[in-house]
């Protein structure tokens, strides 16, 4: 419970902008430390994935991370009110990019997802998750409980969620589509939209799932099928799940030792440096290593939620909630996939997996998150919300 006067007392700058040094001091450095530690875990795993060599994965990923870390801190210095103004334009650009990849993006693995921006490739579907959270937060930041209880007020935002979800499904990228929809739902829930509305929607989806199943792409259906019965095709798509589980299971409590995991070093897992990178940690460092990595991942989620709770303005709270949820869903989907709990979905584990697109999107979000944290006490222009 916050008291108004204490809120006012602890808000030293009100509407003036503060200097860069003071802003830097207000950054959540514990969060930054966790992010750096996780990137260190990634470097360790990628070094091992290359058979004990910084090339071709670990070194490049490290440079990319350092660049992204600088970008993150840079964004953290930008006034959150300025960022808030960009919410809807960013959402528009994100939707436009999704349409562009649909039309012009080049095809990888049978799915159109990537757009080439000079040195880095970006998946617009990764960006839209952040932009969607920002747009929803901007819309709901002044909403009264009466408004959030009104279907007419909420419905436009449901459409705003469904447009990117539909476009991502069309790509097709089932995993990211579900994550995007979930982020939209969580942000709206945080804004005060009635929880039982979501219960109804979830029930509808559960009922209509068999119908949807028939409209999925063959490879998406194959993924669900192999999830349901991985033994049926041990060297098809189910092969990855079996090999992944063997890698986890053979790790034991203490692991097989760094650079000594047989599953990893003998290349039983294709593309293990991306989606299945967690198996390297689990196999070589055992359950202890897994727990340590899980602890770091959850710390990041928890610190992001802490930023959300301590923020004085609704916009920051909702965006921080969306970013925390996004990171959580990355971890959940990836780890579940690695353990064979849900179908293989092409979702990397952020900061550990090799690849630039997810890293870029996640660090962009963390930049916004830290901007929220730095500017947690600013007031938005409308006195209505003070």
């Amino acid at each position: 419970m916050m008291r108004d006067n204490s809120l006012a007392r602890r808000r030293p700058f009100r509407d003036q902008s503060f200097g860069v040094m003071r802003k830097l001091a207000r950054v959540n450095w514990l969060f930054v430390l966790c992010v750096c530690l996780l990137a260190g875990v990634g470097y360790t795993a990628l070094y091992s994935a290359a058979g004990g060599s910084p090339e071709p994965y670990a070194q490049g990923q490290l440079y990319r991370f350092i660049g992204m870390l600088v970008m993150m801190l840079g964004i953290a210095m930008v006034d959150i009110r300025f960022i808030a103004k960009l919410s809807w334009p960013a959402y528009g650009v994100g939707i436009l990019l999704l349409v562009v990849v649909m039309v012009a993006g080049h095809t990888g693995l049978g799915a159109k997802r990537w757009i080439d921006l000079g040195p880095i490739e970006i998946q617009p579907s990764e960006l839209i998750k952040l932009f969607l959270a920002m747009a929803l937060a901007y819309y709901f930041k002044r909403a009264t409980p009466e408004q959030t209880g009104s279907p007419i007020f909420v419905l436009p935002m449901a459409v705003a969620v469904l447009i990117p979800v539909g476009l991502i499904l069309k790509e097709p990228n089932l995993g990211t589509a579900v994550i995007t929809g979930t982020i939209g739902a969580v942000v709206m829930l945080g804004a005060g939209v009635r929880w039982w509305w979501f219960a109804i929607i979830a029930a509808v989806i559960a009922v209509s799932a068999p119908v949807l199943y028939h409209h999925l792409h063959d490879y998406q259906r194959a993924r669900i099928d192999t999830f349901l019965n991985p033994g049926a095709d041990p060297l098809g798509a189910g092969y990855n799940i079996i090999q992944s589980k063997i890698a986890l299971g053979s790790g034991g409590f203490f692991g097989q030792g760094y650079l000594r995991g047989t599953q990893n070093q003998l290349n039983f897992l294709p593309e293990k440096q991306t989606d299945f990178v967690f198996t390297i940690i689990a196999e070589e460092f055992g359950y202890l290593g897994s727990l340590a990595a899980l602890g770091l991942l959850f710390s990041i989620v928890a610190l992001a939620l802490y930023t959300a709770v301590t923020c004085s303005h609704a916009y920051g709270r909702l965006v921080a909630l969306g970013i925390a949820t996004n990171f959580f869903l990355y971890c959940f989907v990836n780890l579940s996939m690695v353990m064979g709990l849900i179908p293989v979905g092409g979702v990397p584990i952020p900061l550990i997996s090799y690849g630039g697109s997810a890293l870029t999107a996640v660090m962009l979000g963390f930049g916004v998150l830290q901007s929220i944290h730095v500017h947690r006490d600013v007031t938005f222009a409308s006195p209505d919300h003070l």
Partner: protein, 627 residues
Amino acid sequence: MRRLAKERSAFSRRALLIGLGQGAVFAGIAARLYNLQVTQHSKYAMLAEQNSISERLVAPERGLITDRFGTILAGNQQHWRALFMQALAPEPQAVLENFYKLVPLSDDEKARIAQDLQDRPGYIPVLLKDWLDWPDMAAIEVNTPNLPGIVVEAGASRVYPLGPVTAHAVGYVGRPNQDEAKSDPVLALPGMRVGRTGAEDAQDGALRGAPGFVQTETNVHGEVVREVAHDNGTPGQTVTLGLDAGLQQLAVQSLGDNAGAVVMLDATNGEILALASTPAFDPSLFDKGVPADVWKGWMADVKHPLQNKATSGLFAPGSTFKPTVALAAMKAGALTGDTILTCPGSFKLGDHVFWCDNHVAHGSINVTQALTVSCDVFFYQVALMVGIDKIADMASELGLGVDLGSDLPHVSTGLVPTLAWAHSKGIHWAQGSTVVQGIGQGYTQLTPLALATMVARIATGNAVGPHITRRVGGALQTGSDPDDWPAVDVDDRHLAVIRQAMFDVVNTPQGTAYASRLQLPNAQMAGKTGTAQVHNNTAAEKQKNFNDMTMAWEDRPNALFVAFGPYDNPRYAIAVVVEHGNFGAQAAAPIAQAMMTYAIQHDPAGRDTPLTQPLQSTTPALPVNNT
């Protein structure tokens, strides 16, 4: 303000719930990981141990060799063979012992296998036995559990549909030896072959292709569970030779039981249309391994079946050398078409008397007549007038005694002596040696290939080089266009005189090869006979009547004939050597006549059937019955 605080606490409540939910999910993941990593560790650790994907390289299919019209001269036939992947066997020695009990092998083979196992990296399987028969296959299949690491796979062996007919031209392949296998790991693959002679050797690089691989998943017992990936590699390219299978067969047929050689060229570009050397051998024996008795038979044969007489057989050219001598003299200005010399039947130099053939006196004759009747005395005198160095110069201009740059391997250069050569060998060059040089005897030693090149150059004035490859992978090779070749440095008028004389040899009644003139309405052949002593030519021997069927076979002279045709528009050049065939006119010229007739009638030169699609070469695999 109040509403704001209320709103904020409501958010905090929801955020806390969401955070707790997410924390619960992480706890669930941790629990699931505990189950997988700790509780079920022993199960998965065992699975990991059993898990093994092995990759081994597989030999690419060797490229085909065809004649110019697509007739397959060298192809591949599948058979079954047993391979051993030692990496998959917990106890390789025990597995080998089990295998030897089922499929007995000789001690030599066992030693070879032991050596290979030591030398080769794990991804290269070691060949245990080629050409498995049904009982072997059955025994291996039934005993699979006792034979971890042993794989039976289909391999290809080299087959030559025309057998001995193309043995020397196409050549054969053999297993790479230990040194080759060490220098290029790909050659260590079972089934890889290296071209040893002929076109197989000449185009070995193009024919070889690039290896593929097979990935298999194996269980802890080394048994293959399934194939994960299979890549057949890149098959070798198809090599189209200039050979015409019909001409080639005719050449071998015409030589019959004789030891000899026939080389026919496209005179305009040097493409080898036929290259025969008899007797020959079955080239496919080298792939399977030559049985000892067959090998001993070859070694004992006085007709040397393994020697390619067309490219490495060295023969005194005899009178077929006379056109070269005449051209050398004309170039030196010592002889013109009108120069008249006298042949009294013999020629005296110092104490020596050099006889004309059969001691016949030809009287006063010019160069055309001298070539037509093959007068020796005329050329004794010409040789003395020119000297051997100028003869050698002309010889090398015509492709004699020099490296012809042929794509065929093992081509002998031959020898046309010069004073410098004699000096370097410490030979005292007497004038008598120059005299016999005039009729292609003495030190001069030439291959049938060089003789065919010489006659092609005289016929067209193109300094062509003999080559057997026409296309590689469908691409026409340099040298198949007549414009690829420079002109010979010989006066056209001189060449015309010689061509006219060679025409007379075949087409005038007094010509030595009149009996072998073409029986075609519009085409004539021009040629030159040669009958060359096989012993060192001495004046004393020359006095004897050596053309004697009563002599022992190996003492009889070699019969030679060189020719080109059609005379009006020379396209084909041929050289025929019949070892110990006595007269060139009798033994060699009829072969040239048959070949030339076939060539002019079918006219294969300059034509071919380019490959439009890859030929299906490999015949299906069936275990052979070795028993």
